[in-house]
Symmetry: C2
């Protein structure tokens, strides 16, 4: 495989051999290694010294189920720390099939022009782009499909990325032409700062993936498949209701943050639940289940139509529905779907935007419960008005603009859909992960609420630190393999699944890893990221929840009761 | 003396004895001690845990010349670190005469009401204020003079403080009814967060200041006076031209940052110079020289009228004229005076606002050179529009809103009127002072440019670290005495002046300090402040200039060439 490097300062591409020490790195392990090695931790995230790195995982491009995630890395303009955000869709497998271990974008054009990149087996073409500037992601994708073929992979930014605001995500076309997002941390702003509107990927005649021992690989892949399909979460709940199965579960558990983290239950929960969503999809002839990339067998995505049966959105996730829903006291699922569509089109992280909306409601810009107000404000972001610039830079920024002190962020990143007081394990992850508040970095909800991998009482402190630490390590390992985080349920509950993953890696690369070796890769990733953040100026003071989480949250009146010393133990590993 | 403490949560005042260890602290030494002792360094600066502390200096209220400065301290909403900002006017001496060692304001009202405080010999009255909400500082002061007497001291915030934006300063009525400002660090936002619109001070029947040995004090005070008047800077240049004498001097030195720090000389310098200003004042029947407080013998303030002889502004400083002038490429002194008036009225720090305007010009909001555009934008800040909220939160915030990477700040605070590449000593102060970029924290311009206290070549690295360190220590000592920083010129050049200061302190308090003891107080202040910032999460990474200062600045093509290791030596004291 090769490293493709694009220098936007001189508009040149080079194709480089993979340094030997990177051979067994992929996905997050590789993006975090490259960012750590090549980016000055103190640089301005939107300046020429930052780099944007795309890397498929170790297993991406193979027949391994759910292995088509793409890691995107850079110094984050939202957190100021290192960032890896991963995404499904059509990009990762095409990069892998082209033999591209990582695509590194560096420098910055001297002029104000925007460009597009076309990646193919012989290299990268860099062209000026004018037609699609100022356009949303749906129009970009549809236009590209006309310019090239339906098989073309697309990585794109909407207006938000062009504005270089910190809610800007990077979007990837999914197999149906819809949108998946590397959502968090403002990586779309980094792509905008490199002045790249979109990247197209043509994997025709790509060299493909070498598998050292194909039989062994196939054998392990079958066990892996079976494990995923046998698990009740990945085999049943997620395919049926999508991630939104969680609204009722979290509401019941008193961990559904409502009205900007004031309560743990939302009166309107039933109206926005996975079950309601399922009924709507069925009655409106949508699609209850499809995969975000070829080879996904969990298929948690869906197509959600409006009352007239017209396409509204897809990849309609629990965290989005929580954020614009319970968080904002809005119980209109169709309106939330419109907000989701708009965010996808403009290229905005729905979690950051929805925590921002809660902050804007706190500031009195619009009242809690004002669904149409949310759409109006999202249009301000789309238009790039001054108010839109404020909101589009996230919850912390909006809080500062309007002197709101009740802002739910860690390291400048909005806290997602699980209250850290009543689901304490996820609070440990929010505070300590180098990513800023991020549920996917160590999804303790699994063991706290879903009782996957045993049960750690969500309301008690006992066991949470170890749980979050182990999950953060395992997640870093999964992210490096290019595997979807939803394989974790089976990994945790079924030993044969983690062994199957290792067997596949061993069969592909001709090595003899143990599960421990793989988790050591996870530890290495975390250490690399923590070191970057420290060099960027982070201290333990950044591993804290905002002050207001000392308020008890109904119905359990749980408070955040971890001491600084306890939090500082998490990464004594 | 007593500590007056006002709790805005329960609207109660207490009068406390001064802890013994605070007896020999005053001004900055006392505000930084109290903030450090009583404020959680990690708290939200606009939350109920922050405190706002006012303290007259050790010599304030005596006949010592230029001793009427008031220190204001808090955790800064602009920098996130500890802040002391000091100001002349009518407040400090009245507090001292009332026997108030410090006025501490803590807590926060549970409701949305605004209040005013009336401080008198028996305590503090807290009343709801409605009439003056939303009004500018000039109207506040004029209305208060009607409510009380002309002798009433006034501390007030304009609309900016009510909005709690980070450019908000705290204004103090001067003896002429004009405005002096504790400008930097957003302390007006802290006062706004405590919901105090203004504080009136009635020193009738105050206990006054005890002087242990009045004869010795008088003797030393005469020597001090003479030293100030004999020095060419404090005795001649400042009274004649005000601080704006510096435009031509810095322009000549190539250290007048022009067009957002692109050049060190401004073509239009002559139009905005102190000499031009002097001519305008004379021909328009203004006032070329008056003191900002009773007992000031340097008298660097002035009254600047418009072409028709009507009052435009006063306390019209070099840094303001630099910022809206050379920084923004505006050479219209009358327009800059209008901007100064507007900032004083709305309660905005002119340095932060003018660096913000340069950033807004960088973003293309208005073009460089657009003077009327500046006034238009300042009115947006006054009105509290979304654009005004962006600009009103300072240069860093504005840069982030519009994705501008060329933003001249350290620790989030705008860099003032002396280019750190061509006046290297001041660059050391900008980077290392716990205050964020602040020329007054260690005014190396004195020795680099004015050749006070010898000469350290401004373009060479040699000697700058020691120079800045010594000046930072001496300044912290001066700020604790309540002395105006402009006594420093005489202190540095004339040993009898520093001895006179110590003799006054000794005579007042009945002690036997040496000059070294006094400087040790300065060292203690810096250590206290550095410790607070460290506990707030600051690291050495915060002691750096922005990336773009590696560009050479004409005419000398000087660059910023201090290594991290060199900067980290400054506080090895």
């Amino acid at each position: 495989m090769k490293i493709f490097r694009v220098n936007m300062s001189n508009l040149r591409t080079t194709i480089e051999d993979v340094p030997e020490e990177w051979n067994l790195l992929g996905g997050r392990a590789l993006t975090s290694t490259i960012v750590s090695k090549e980016v000055d931790p103190t640089c301005h995230p939107l300046g020429s010294k930052n780099k944007l790195v795309f890397a498929p995982g170790l297993l991406t491009g193979t027949m391994a189920a759910n292995s088509g995630r793409l890691s995107v890395g850079a110094k984050s303009p939202l957190t100021g720390g290192i960032k890896e955000s991963n995404v499904g869709g059509t990009a990762s497998q095409r990069l892998a099939k082209l033999g591209i271990k990582a695509l590194i974008i560096e420098g910055m054009p001297a002029d104000d022009k925007f460009y597009c990149l076309h990646v193919h087996k012989d290299g990268v073409n860099i062209k000026e782009e004018t037609e699609l500037l100022g356009k949303g992601n749906y129009e970009v994708i549809n236009t590209i499909l006309e310019r090239y073929t339906e098989n073309t992979g697309v990585i794109t930014i909407g207006q938000a990325g062009e504005y270089k605001i910190s809610c800007a995500n990077i979007s990837v076309k999914d197999p149906k032409g819809h949108i998946r997002s590397a959502g968090r941390g403002g990586l779309g702003a980094v792509m905008g700062s490199k002045r790249i509107k979109f990247i197209t990927l043509d994997d025709n005649d790509g060299s493909g993936i070498d598998i050292n021992d194909k039989d062994e690989f196939r054998k392990a892949a079958r066990i892996f498949n079976k494990g995923l399909l046998n698990h009740p979460v990945s085999g049943d709940a997620l395919p049926r209701y999508g991630t939104n199965v969680l609204v009722n579960i979290l509401n019941e558990a008193g961990g559904l943050p409502t009205k900007n983290f004031r309560m743990g239950r939302f009166e309107g929960a039933d109206n926005i639940s996975g079950e309601t969503m399922y009924e709507n999809i069925m009655s409106r002839k949508g699609d209850t289940t499809h995969g975000c990339h070829v080879g996904c067998i969990i298929r948690c995505s869906q197509t959600y139509n409006d009352k007239d049966g017209n396409y509204l959105t897809s990849g309609f996730e629990y965290e989005t529905i929580w954020g614009f829903g319970a968080g904002c006291m809005v119980d209109d699922l169709d309106l939330i779907a419109q907000a989701d569509h708009l965010c996808d089109d403009v290229g905005l992280d729905t979690i950051e935007m929805s925590v921002t909306m809660q902050t804007a409601m706190e500031a009195g810009i619009i009242p809690f419960g004002d669904g149409p107000g949310i759409l109006k404000l999202l249009n301000e972001v789309k238009e790039g008005t001054p108010l839109g610039r404020i909101l589009g830079n996230g919850a912390d920024f909006t809080g500062k603009a309007f002197a709101v002190t009740r802002v739910a962020t860690v390291k400048g990143q909005g806290i997602p859909a699980y209250d850290p007081r009543s689901v304490k394990g996820i609070g440990i992850t929010y505070t300590t992960t180098p990513m800023g508040a991020d549920h996917t970095a160590g999804y303790a909800v699994a063991t706290n609420i879903l009782k996957v991998g045993g049960h750690v009482d969500p309301l008690q402190k006992e066991g949470q630190i170890e749980l979050s630490r182990n999950l953060q390590i395992a997640t870093a390992a999964l992210d490096s393999a290019g595997l979807c985080i939803f394989v974790a349920f089976a990994v945790i509950d079924d030993e044969s699944v983690s062994h199957a993953i290792i067997d596949m890696i061993n069969a592909q690369y001709g090595i003899n890893w143990t599960v421990d070796d793989w988790f050591n890769l996870g530890r290495y990733v975390l250490r690399t990221e923590l070191d970057f953040n420290k060099a960027a100026g982070f201290t333990k003071k950044d591993d804290r929840l905002p002050e207001f989480f000392n308020e008890p949250i109904p119905p359990h009146n749980a408070t955040w009761d971890f001491s600084d010393a306890e939090l500082d133990q998490v990464f004594q590993m």
